[in-house]
């Protein structure tokens, strides 16, 4: 395990504190219908239009479990190298809230569908393995809207009953950077598997963050506080930082930490205690008598194992071994399934090294600038592949390619077409080049003298002039070769 070179420590007086972080991530399962009812799960529908009688908990309504959601949870478990429990139980978690129509949430308490596993984080300092405690399935709640009506709260039950996977990490995270890497990796694995789309803006991925502190070197854990429902990595980091400092301040003042549930206020940038939970929830878990224990056969699980696609860690290894990419390059290219798909499509017909450079360089810069996902790239993998091939076969120089790339950004045209339209083919005819270079030499006799008498740096001047005279079309390699010959 790599040692963190830059540790995340909170310093106060002469003390250094470590921060212990655990995450409970709630990931919405990608499925057509909900976990225990057959209403749709699509985001953004008109309020209460995706609600069935079961979702709204009408008298006499009963849950019927969605087989696909079970498969999605198992697949995720496999992606987390976790133990799949052949027998698991659905329990009722009882509490009252306006967006919880049943007055209980169907969840899993002591017998979850997935047990212990692990995730490998790709950090600049090396790899770190973070333990997974468990994964279980549960129902999502509806939405309470507090700011549309001054007197009342409005309730939309569209989300009520959507399947969630709750993934609990072990308290192995120690820094904001690790939290970032963990969430990104978890999200990536699920996107590779197609079990969750990881869209944090739409709420497909949210986390409860557990934070405690301890003096560096101390054994055992301090009292932790839970910060509920944080829906972006940035807020997670801000919340953790605030909370860790808050706890350290209390300890330094001689106080003790109360175990409590807190909320992160994004406006004030601080965590505060949730007043309404003052009588700590007693969820009164018991097995849901409307359901039976879930018993999975080996075949059911193995059939899923057989069909798991290549996951990021595997793919990274393969990229390094087969394509000789560096760890850094490979990590970037596998970090998201869309990126790896794009890359793999490009390298089907194009040089790997060039593809790597162009994707991680020019393309990423473009996407960043326009704030686009790779799936929204204005330049398709097909056309980028063509562009790279044109460089490789000498039709255009790398420099010209950059201009073509710019033009492709506007219209994603076939680069071949652009080159022909704009006459950008590079000049690779040695005879033509010789003529051109002869002219440059003739026009700059004084510089030639200086070069031959030792000013080697002037070589670049001649190259520059050749490029200028040819309007940038001269094949740079050939120019180099010919110049070298002629200036000997």
């Amino acid at each position: 395990m790599a040692k963190n070179q830059s540790e995340y420590l909170i310093k106060r007086n002469n003390n250094e504190y470590e921060v212990i972080i655990g995450l409970e991530v709630h990931a919405q399962v990608l499925s057509e219908s909900k976990l225990f009812s057959s209403s749709p799960t699509k985001f953004g529908a008109e309020p209460n239009t995706q609600v069935s009688l079961v979702d709204a908990a009408f008298p006499g309504m009963l849950p019927v479990i969605n087989e696909f959601c079970i498969k999605q949870a198992i697949k995720t478990g496999i992606g987390l190298n976790a133990k799949i429990n052949k027998r698991s139980i659905f329990d009722r978690k009882n509490y009252f809230y306006a967006d919880l129509p049943q007055g209980y949430q169907i969840s899993q308490y002591k017998n979850p569908i997935v047990g212990e596993g692990s995730i490998t984080l790709d950090l600049p300092t090396g790899e770190k393995i973070v333990g997974i405690e468990r994964l279980h399935l549960e129902q999502d709640a509806g939405k309470s809207i507090h700011d549309m009506d001054p007197q009342n709260t409005l309730v939309d039950l569209n989300r009520s009953g959507v399947a969630l996977m709750e993934i609990v990490s072990k308290p192995d995270l120690r820094s904001l950077e690790e939290v970032n890497a963990y969430v990104k990796k978890l999200r990536s694995i699920m996107r590779y598997l197609g079990t969750c789309d990881g869209n944090m803006q739409e709420g497909s991925l949210r986390a409860d963050v557990n934070v405690s502190v301890r003096k560096k070197g101390q054994k055992g854990f301090g009292t932790r506080c839970e910060i509920k429902n944080v829906n972006s990595i940035k807020f997670m980091q801000m919340a953790i930082d605030y909370e860790a400092n808050r706890q350290v301040d209390i300890i330094e003042d001689g106080g003790t930490i109360d175990q409590e549930t807190r909320l992160f206020d994004i406006k004030k940038n601080e965590t505060r205690s949730m007043r309404s939970k003052e009588d700590a929830h007693d969820y009164r878990y018991f097995p849901d008598p409307d359901l039976l224990p879930l018993e999975l056969s080996d075949k059911f699980i193995n059939d899923l194992k057989k069909n798991i696609p290549e996951l990021p860690d595997e793919k990274k290894k393969r990229f390094i071994e087969k394509f000789k990419l560096s760890s850094y390059e490979a990590t970037i290219l596998v970090s998201d399934i869309e990126t790896s798909k794009y890359f793999e499509e490009v390298i089907e017909k194009s040089d790997v090294k060039l593809s790597t450079n162009w994707i991680t360089g020019e393309l990423f810069a473009l996407l960043n600038e326009k704030n686009l996902e790779i799936s929204q790239s204005p330049i398709t993998a097909k056309n980028l592949s063509k562009l790279i091939n044109l460089i490789k076969n000498g039709t255009i120089s790398g420099k010209i390619a950059k201009s073509v790339f710019e033009i492709m950004t506007e219209r994603d045209k076939d680069p071949q077409t652009i080159i022909e339209e704009k006459g950008l083919k590079q000049q690779s005819d040695p005879m033509e080049l010789e003529k051109l270079i002869d002219k440059v030499i003739n026009d700059n006799q004084d510089k030639v003298k200086e070069y031959k008498s030792g000013k080697e740096k002037l070589f670049g001047f001649f190259v520059g002039q050749a490029m200028k005279v040819s309007s940038g079309k001269a094949n740079p390699q050939l120019v180099n070769e010919i110049l070298k010959k002629k200036l000997k």
């Binding site: 009688l53 709204a56 908990a57 009408f58 008298p59 006499g60 309504m61 009963l62 849950p63 019927v64 479990i65 009722r92 009882n94 009252f96 306006a98 129509p101 049943q102 007055g103 209980y104 709260t153 309730v155 007693d282 009164r284 878990y285 018991f286 008598p289 409307d290 359901l291 039976l292």
Partner: protein, 484 residues
């Protein structure tokens, strides 16, 4: 006309099919009689106008191929009936109109039956005397100011008073069998999982089961055929081969082995109950079946187990009655106040008591000692039955420890009320089928029932035994229409 109401279901169905009487005539007879019987307070919601229209429509366009073609009937107000108010005997659902139908009642209407209205019951099926209903007590037609039993009190009373030819109820701890015993009628609680729970207002999910309530065993068999189906919308519904229970009814019980459990011979057992039980034993012997003494050692723990498991599940099932989505809502300054007032005003005392028990036995620190313990004892009780069923085919016991008592007699002592279910509760815990048939009258002239308990999914067997015994017993209900 008055003869129509004397006909059993099987007789009625035949006459309608043979066009000897019309559905309109039958329905009119029952509507008339029901209108004259309001004193019994069996109906919460009447749907007489619609019933007469439907009967008329049936006669104009009859389909005689169905099992309940043109038969009018009222049902317990625990079954959600589309577009007709369904209250579960509670204020909190006092104005609730479902937009959907329960599977069991759907089966009835698909079989050609016609809905007369919704029958009174203990609130949320919690009670043994129909004295906890928000809509008032029900009178037992057997005698004035007598309870009809509960929770399906309205059903049993309407059936015995002939305000409906047949009816359906639900049984969680005895709520079909005990009122059947108190009113001199037949009531079957089928094996858990044979009738769908979809659309039935839930009380205790692992114990609730819908069942037929009829005047005789043949009717019971036919009605059960119609009610029972596999329903994918209920995850606890069992897909098994359902028989033609009526056609296959056989009154020969020669060679059958009937168990008599010694633990059911409770202390202070009234002599009359003992006598009745003996009468049943003698009848069985005379029919050529064998009587075998058996032991169900954990019987005495059934009631305490039930009063942990049922309230626990109920406390959770009734959490949805919060005034948010439907039903009664009381004004509150904020959400919590709204909840607390709604539920305090919307629920009656017995329901509140059971919710509190249930909440407590599931609460932190008590789950192991109560709920978990009860689930273990439940396993032991089930094992007891599994064991004896290696030796016997069915079990005979009394249905209730007494006949109908007076309204108000037991309302002050919850525990004495709970003891009514002493013979019926173990069967719900074990998920087994059991039928109560009227077996005689006590010294006051009130009916008493005998209970035949069967193996899981072996309803045919207990129907056969009941059919055989019924013939020998030849029970006659001496109900005079004192309330009209």
């Amino acid at each position: 006309m008055s003869d129509i109401i004397e006909l059993t279901l099987v007789e009625l169905a035949n006459k309608i099919k043979k066009k000897e009487i019309s559905s309109k005539e039958v329905t009119t007879a029952y509507v008339d009689r029901s209108e004259k019987s309001k004193k019994l307070n069996t109906y919460i919601t009447e749907d007489f106008e619609n019933a007469l229209k439907k009967a008329d429509n049936f006669d104009k366009n009859p389909n005689y191929e169905k099992k309940l073609s043109g038969i009018p009937m009222a049902v317990k107000d625990l079954f959600c009936t589309k577009n007709l108010r369904t209250t579960a005997g509670s204020k909190i659902l006092g104005n609730f109109i479902p937009t959907y139908e329960s599977t069991v009642t759907e089966n009835l209407w698909n079989a050609g039956a016609i809905l007369l209205g919704k029958l009174n019951c203990d609130e949320f099926a919690m009670g043994s005397s129909n004295e906890t209903s928000f809509f008032g007590n029900v009178q037992n037609p057997v005698g004035e100011d007598l309870v009809p039993g509960g929770s399906s009190g309205g059903s049993a009373s309407a059936l015995a008073a002939k305000l409906t030819p047949i009816t359906i109820g639900t049984d969680t701890g005895g709520s079909i069998r005990q009122p059947a015993s108190f009113t001199g009628t037949v009531g079957l609680k089928p094996t858990y999982g044979s009738c769908s729970r979809y659309g039935i207002v839930a009380f205790a999910s692992s114990l609730d089961q819908a069942g037929p309530m009829t005047r005789d065993v043949k009717d019971c068999s036919l009605l059960f055929e119609v009610m029972s189906s596999y329903d994918y919308k209920d995850s606890t519904s069992v897909d098994f081969k359902r028989r033609n229970y009526l056609n296959d009814l056989n009154n020969s019980i020669k060679g059958k082995k009937i168990g008599i459990p010694k633990e059911y011979r409770v202390d202070d057992m009234p002599k009359e109950i003992e006598g009745l039980w003996q009468k049943g034993i003698d009848i069985i012997k005379e029919s050529g079946a064998e009587i075998i003494d058996i032991s169900l050692p954990n019987t005495n723990y059934a009631l305490p187990t039930y009063y942990i498991v049922a309230p626990a599940e109920a406390s959770s099932n009734l959490a949805r009655y919060d005034g948010v989505k439907y039903g009664f809502r009381s004004k509150g300054e904020n959400l919590i106040e709204m909840y607390e007032k709604t539920r305090s005003e919307g629920f009656g005392n017995e329901v509140k008591r059971r919710i509190m028990i249930g909440t407590y036995v599931l609460s932190s620190g008590y789950y192991d000692a109560y709920y978990l313990k009860a689930q273990k004892v439940r396993k032991l009780i089930k094992n007891d039955f599994d064991e004896v069923y290696k030796k016997v085919d069915a079990i005979l016991t009394p249905s209730t420890p007494s006949s109908a008592f007076k309204i108000g007699e037991k309302t002050n002592d919850p525990v004495s009320m709970y003891l009514n279910d002493i013979f019926t509760v173990p069967i719900n815990l074990a998920g087994l089928p059991a039928i109560s048939i009227p077996a005689g009258l006590d010294s006051k002239g009130y009916p008493l029932g005998l209970q035949i308990i069967g193996k899981a999914f072996d309803e045919q067997n207990i129907l056969n035994i009941a059919y055989s015994m019924e013939e020998q017993i030849d029970f006659k209900n001496e109900i005079k229409d004192w309330w009209m």
